[in-house]
Subunit: 364 residues, 3 copies
């Protein structure tokens, strides 16, 4: 608690923590004021994300960037998991799929691109561990192929095609989970030494003790999850007020706010010239959603959903995931970065965001 | 003969050679017992493949891994060529195309992936000659583009489209053969030094004299071809018994058994830390099928087929070949390998195999 | 003038300059003799391209290869811009788009491939600056994604889809121009040092003084533009005489002749082992057309065209641009080249050219 109060005193952004109780009060007394709830929940997530960032860095300082990045991605994606589970229970499979695809694309293109740009504006060129990036890019490539196959092998719209897609999705979900598990064995156990960081970090602020950091990580993650629920309930209605299409909301807005916590960590790492942390969070988070969250949701849909969910995505979403994965492979291949690499990556993201923003609902 | 007997005494797997005459007897006396013939022919191919492997290694020990790999790929693909020629004469163009596409995909993903996995389970990390892998990946990329173009430029189903596809296929076949020939000049003559092996091989068993090895190579290849014919005749009927779809049989089973000989060599090379040999066999064999076997079949279809055959493939097959080629480029780009690279590559293959296994026949 | 006369005396190819006035005379007195005008204009463009090449090299000798390459690409693409503007004013949007796509594909595959081949036939292996090639490949990748998105997100043929494509194209045009501008800042200002050349050039001929070189550049470019107009007017009719399809003319012939000036420079650089110059011209020219010429044409279509032009390309053209960009990324990734790399790249180009040559008009 002492560390937390010290942090709050020194970081004015944390004063926004005030909005956390305000959101819950507003939710209780004005449950229909969607636009207000939307704005309040975004304002409340920002400081929570900042706290999460500091706690994660404290743990990362003790464990090395690779493990810290993994930890961060795991906890950061709780938000996405909670959002998707809520939508799954309600049978809103289109929203689940849009938020999965959007989270993958946003983590790769926006989080990685902005990290390169923010880091590059401060440092002339930056280096990062190629092996780690290549490993995550490999996992993402596999996941993209797995999501591509159902739509590439068949385009018919018959009951037989639907049954095929469902059976195939179940098999692919198991395959992806096995690959994810083996990937953990590889990166954390048998070939751990490949994933040590390039030594380039500046001395950061004094880290918290591990106990405090872990407790903060857990508590703040729960708060993020609770606020996120308010956010999800209000976002669709608020979007209409702002004139956004549902595709844009599911793909871009949910993913940006859902990933705010990890983004704060990734951007802060990039500014401190610890690009391994940024790349680890961005690509690690994307591959965790693709190889862990998505298959778990498919399996859980047999238990808690009204009907089984498939991995059969809208073709446009598959193309975007494929391009995002290719981009990740291309920009990380040299293990070096400068600001323009960030610009290019962000531009690809803007291309997608723009087309989703303009896309008339009927054309999707 | 002395060497052969010595080998048979020391390698229990070669006792399966007994099944070679058994297959021919069974074929003569029970030509309709497809399931039995299928099982027997597979059992007979395994020891022949093992012999072929030892003979090839003996030659490779004398000539360097690159030439040994090329030699192996040339002789190993006789099986595929014989299978395809039999089907071509019968006018079964769908089977010819499926076995071509399947052989390319299986050689790249299964043979390369399993080599990486088997080698990686024994050796922590392995190195191989990047230049050789890049050369083969380049050839495969060209072949994939050539197979993609007919289906990308037109989708109409008219007589004009068919005539266009046929004319184009003839031109592309010539183009691919020219590229293959120039590639031989490049890798065996003008830039031979780029393809020398990374020195990492363990001392193998005492190699056979070149004469014995070459004679064994030739004789065993003929036996493999003869047994393969029994296999092809029986596989479709046997598949029905086992509940497999025709797509799965053509793409996966024929390719796996047809490539058994080369796989034995590739896997043995990987275990002995001679990954250059494995990569050379896997990618070399795939590119030989794409740039030599496939065009030759197109040209021969004008002579021995009932009608000319085009290079117009089922879109799903083109996508799989494209992904396989991309995978080859991605996993070989660093010239280093560990067991998880093999897992990822095999997972991509499993993704394809699973979807072909589940694919209802009508959807293809 | 003294330098020019000296050059003409020593370079017999420049005697073809005689055809420049002949073209204008023929155009004035025989405006309907399309086949003759076509042949004459091609003959006149060749020596102008050679002059342009020498002038550019003179400037490049003073400024370094990267800047020289950029300068060359800028002036060389005036031809393409003039052609496209003429077609735009006439509302021939299909021709504009075909010439844009064709120029991108031709610059990447033909110019780069032929440079590698010509350079490789003289030098065993050649090295070039990887950073420059990667930078251009990144720009091209972004442009390809931007051109892919309109056709990937929607396939409907309704007024809503057309309006969406138009709005999106306008946004993408602005995005591409911003990326192009930032890319100039990056390569010419903040990270200029990354783009210095690998030192491998042979001593060339004595360069002209910068003033003479710049004046020649400007004057000859104007002449190229004027002759190109005659060429464009005559090429469609002449093509019919030679039996070429409109797709082939727009994509291949216009691009080859329009890029003749840059090709002369690129090839001459490759022969002199200054492959940085060749790669810079080929990829720089392609990315300039994609990120500068194409968006400018979209914006200008609101001012001078009969109706706004979109970036919605024929799917086959998008596939070809995508494959060309992938090829550029693959062949430049190692920073080394040999003749067979050129062969492979040219083969991909031949594949496209062949299918466009054979494509029946109705199937496009």
């Amino acid at each position: 608690m002492k560390y937390l109060l010290h942090e709050i005193r020194h970081n004015p952004m944390l004063w926004l923590l005030l909005f956390v109780p305000v959101v819950f009060l507003a939710e209780a007394f004005k449950p229909g004021a969607y636009t207000m709830l939307f704005v309040l929940s975004v304002l409340a997530i920002v400081p929570l994300a900042a706290l999460l960032s500091h706690a994660t860095e404290s743990v990362a300082a003790k464990t090395g960037d690779a493990v810290g990045g993994l930890l961060n991605a795991t906890l950061g994606n709780l938000t996405e998991l909670v959002i998707a589970l809520t939508a799954l229970r309600a049978g809103q499979y289109m929203l689940v799929k849009a938020s999965i695809a959007g989270a993958i694309v946003t983590n790769i293109l926006f989080m990685l691109g902005a990290s390169f740009l923010l880091g590059g504006l401060k440092h002339h060129t930056q280096e990062f561990n190629k092996a780690g990036a290549r490993f995550q890019a490999g996992l993402l490539f596999l996941a993209t192929v797995a999501l591509l196959v159902p739509s590439a092998t068949t385009k018919a719209n018959s009951p037989a095609a639907a049954a095929f897609a469902q059976e195939l999705s179940l098999g692919l979900a198991v395959l992806l989970l096995v690959a994810y598990g083996l990937g953990m064995v590889f990166s954390l156990k048998t070939h751990r030494e490949l994933f040590t960081s390039v030594e380039s970090g500046e001395a950061g602020e004094a880290p918290w003790p591990v106990g405090v950091a872990l407790a903060t990580l857990a508590g703040v993650t729960v708060l993020v999850a609770l606020v996120s629920e308010v956010f999800v309930e209000s976002v669709q209605e608020a979007a209409k007020t702002f004139g956004m299409t549902p595709a844009f909301v599911g793909f871009i807005i949910v993913a940006l706010v859902g990933g705010a916590a990890e983004m704060a960590s990734a951007f802060s790492g990039a500014r401190k010239n610890r690009l391994d942390l940024s790349v680890g969070i961005a690509l690690g988070s994307a591959s965790q959603i693709a190889l862990f969250v998505a298959p778990v949701l498919v399996l859980l849909s047999y238990v808690i959903g009204p009907s089984p969910m498939s991995l059969d995505f809208w073709p446009g979403a598959v193309v975007m995931m494929l391009i995002a994965t290719l981009t990740a492979a291309l920009v990380t291949t040299s293990g070096r970065s400068a600001w323009f690499v960030g610009v290019l990556t962000l531009m690809v993201y803007l291309t997608f965001a723009m087309s989703l923003y303009l896309l008339p609902p009927g054309l999707r």
